[in-house]
Symmetry: C2
Subunit: 542 residues, 2 copies
Amino acid sequence: MLGLMQDWPLLCHRIIDHAAKVHSGREVVTRSVEGPIHRTNYAEIRGRALKLAQRLDRQGIKLGDRVATIAWNTWRHLEAWYGIMGIGAVCHTVNPRLFPDQIAWIINHAEDRIVMTDITFIPILEKIADRLPSVERYIVLTDKVHMPQTALKNAVPYEDWIAEADGDFTWKTFDENTAAAMCYTSGTTGNPKGVVYSHRSNVLHSMIVNSADALGAASKDTMLPMVPLFHANSWGIAFSAPSMGTKLVMPGAKLDGASVYELLSSEKVTFTAGVPTVWLMLLQHMETNNLRLPDLKVVICGGSAAPRSVIKAFDDMGIEVRHSWGMTEMSSRGTAGALQGKFSHLKGDAKLDRLQMQGYAPFMVEMKITDDAGNELPWDGTTPGRLKVRGPAISGAYYRVNDNILDGEGFFDTGDVATLDEYGYVRITDRSKDVIKSGGEWISSIDLENLAVEHPKVAEAAVIGIHHPKWGERPLLILQVRKGESATREEILGFMDGKIAKWWMPDDVAFVDSIPHTATGKILKTALREQFRGYSFPNAAA
Amino acid sequence: MLGLMQDWPLLCHRIIDHAAKVHSGREVVTRSVEGPIHRTNYAEIRGRALKLAQRLDRQGIKLGDRVATIAWNTWRHLEAWYGIMGIGAVCHTVNPRLFPDQIAWIINHAEDRIVMTDITFIPILEKIADRLPSVERYIVLTDKVHMPQTALKNAVPYEDWIAEADGDFTWKTFDENTAAAMCYTSGTTGNPKGVVYSHRSNVLHSMIVNSADALGAASKDTMLPMVPLFHANSWGIAFSAPSMGTKLVMPGAKLDGASVYELLSSEKVTFTAGVPTVWLMLLQHMETNNLRLPDLKVVICGGSAAPRSVIKAFDDMGIEVRHSWGMTEMSSRGTAGALQGKFSHLKGDAKLDRLQMQGYAPFMVEMKITDDAGNELPWDGTTPGRLKVRGPAISGAYYRVNDNILDGEGFFDTGDVATLDEYGYVRITDRSKDVIKSGGEWISSIDLENLAVEHPKVAEAAVIGIHHPKWGERPLLILQVRKGESATREEILGFMDGKIAKWWMPDDVAFVDSIPHTATGKILKTALREQFRGYSFPNAAA
Ligand SMILES: Nc1ncnc2c1ncn2[C@@H]1O[C@H](COP(=O)(O)OP(=O)(O)OP(=O)(O)O)[C@@H](O)[C@H]1O
Ligand SMILES: Nc1ncnc2c1ncn2[C@@H]1O[C@H](COP(=O)(O)OP(=O)(O)OP(=O)(O)O)[C@@H](O)[C@H]1O
Ligand SMILES: [Mg+2]
Ligand SMILES: [Mg+2]
């Protein structure tokens, strides 16, 4: 017996239809790439997205064709998402911070037919354009006045191009499992892998994000996504904000502390989301200039482990900081670190301890941890295991990769190692590729890094496992000190001593000028392992 | 091209799985029908629901079979929902306040195989049992100690019955469009009609309810649903609360002001939801005893138009009151009256005016208003039209009724008449069957009723259209005055004069001892029209 409810497929463009109807005048404010602040609203965004859809359709872009965007967070980029998806084409967001070779590889792998780009990235594209045979034309996200000279094939300013359409167009309809978007992973552990979102998964994910403990912004709220539209599906914000009628503030190309503070403050932003690096920049700017953000209520911090100092700084200002863990493959939301009722009374270090965990899974994200053989491990808060996940907005396969990536129960291995406690709180202790196995036991590199950066002289810390004749592997602590500071091995190890189990203490400390990062700001341990390939511990003489 | 995300059907029992895993210790507190306060949690609820599922399965209850519940809001009733749905059977909630004949008609129409009932309703069932051929056995939601003597076929106490199962059972899996539950409409305008929810529609609806402007409770919140599980899908709360890990407080059989206040206060409830009648009782109790509810943050008021006095009373206490409109056919959420950013600064009467509207549609509820011929009418805040809706949690057909209930665009006619403004705010002015057509123009009976009840002597007001030789129809105002009061026609009309258009003024006022209500507390205008069938206006002499 079937239910007798309406057949209403979950399609992304229905979100912008809703916003344009019920929250038509709600603003989308952008620091434009060209410079000035630009203001529009959801009704206009939809109208222009329809023009784009019509123009793409006339160009012969069909269901399933890939259209790439390489662009900052702006209103035009948002229009591009809805315009592309609204005809059943696939919006492929490309991360401009990848190496040019990686960008070329990704565009070719996706076989993008059109590339929509900000002015900023024209030089990169010009360098690789002759290696991109599938690309038929480039749309530059600007107007005629700001259009630079470029050799890119059939390049045309976005504003002129969509002006060729009159907007008298209706979205296409299709099955909700149709591909809507593609995003490649950050390439931290190897080459980026192609994740293909469906309309259904995007809509369901936006509903997860809209729930109170995940993000839960209301229509009266104002959201500034520091997380780029090209990073892991923009953490769902490009869908969740219009679906609720939340005002959007787009930071464009300027992500430095001063620029971000200015927008947060002048637009009275109440919710924001981004990686730890941008919060470090913002907090430093605020501290130096003794600034406050009285309207800001919630900061989502994710993408890599949030330093305790960042959590404490926001918490001290009375701003709720939610540490989130997620992946490109999870659309991106895996957890959110809201405090459950049981913990809402916590204060001081106990509170920070809880906030520094990665939070717990929302409904629609199922979790388990297992040993290497796939046996489930207990949720006791101490046993680390491979974290595996299941849900309707989680990858079941990579694009053009035939491997089965699900286990017998349909769970996807995140590649992360974590503990889970009885309240469902996750603590990410490592990537399984970064885990240090000493005498058969696991040492968490993230825990060591978190502790080391608490030392006032340390700017950033990375721990890698180095072969040890007796223990198999032992931790090497690699440090970048703060500008103008210098530190010694003994000073740092002395600071750490007593705060962790004795056998976790790094066997050595190496100081480097800078720690290498991925395109999304994570520590690139593959590069560090390469760099320290010849290294052996002073105490390693067999 | 399809997305490459996991195939994870939206199934109701996955909600209780999530709650039992991530919010296992979160409490469900009930004022039990037997008397004492009962405490359990989501992990236990799931364990017992699994036992019920196993026991039903052993009884031969199969996919698609209907199992009825006639019960108050208790933990056992909640277990029954998940246990029944978890094997693909259909949980048919029956409203015990219907006339016995209606109850019999509904149970027969649904062909329920099992009836699960509270002690309270045994006498009603005993009266109609010999007319219920499809029912094979009765499960009484109590334990052996409290089990009354009854002639009901194969009657057994719930606790004994589920104790026959050991709970070593796994939910069945099936397509997400499988029927999960049934609920008949309230029978305000005719005979109740059978609405059949699917697993998909229930899960999607719970996600709507979880969004900030609809309900948006967090895991740290405590929710007391005054709305019964048998009323319009419990407004989604039986799903939304466990999906978020929100603590639940169940009022059982005691809905009077004192009992409800006691629970709201002692359990520090933060969210609650119910029909205007229960709020009137609560507010009167609080006023009489000079009480406060410092923990309560949000009150949802829906099911029929919320009196301004109720809205004002909560607002004066600093409690956010959200006026919601919905229907059994909408699972039930149609709108919620949170204040959009544009209106959040409002004060005094301007604020009350906005709060008294029925709010706006969340994402996944599409709306239009049309004239009788189906032409769309403008969202100008003044033009009333037939309100039509579309979405994945809205009925596409009634159970065992062959009529097509959708228009050419797939919209369902709500039977309500409303205005929509440019911000999407709905104002319900009438049922289309209750609309008064005077000289070709519509007069809103709800507006007249709202105004009349503002008179201090008036307890309740109903307006019906009575034939008029000149105008076609004119409004008759029917009043029930407060206990101990008496009022005159002139007094009331004088009070209304100047507050509405002259031609809206009722042509006469009739005083009655009591205004008849439906099983869900709505004014039963069909009965009033019957009662005033012979009436003609004093001014109606042709
Ligand atoms: N809050 C967090 N704390 C710790 N680690 C996090 C957090 N959020 C995200 N991560 C890390 O980021 C990963 C997901 O990142 P993303 O999808 O951008 O690509 P990547 O895993 O870095 O790259 P690749 O999969 O190509 O190696 C997670 O698997 C996890 O290792
Ligand atoms: N906030 C509200 N303001 C005004 N009317 C409301 C409100 N909420 C619900 N209603 C009325 O209740 C109706 C839905 O009620 P329900 O589904 O319980 O059955 P019913 O419509 O009363 O009965 P039937 O359909 O059998 O005649 C709506 O169509 C509307 O007329
Ligand atoms: Mg990864
Ligand atoms: Mg109805």
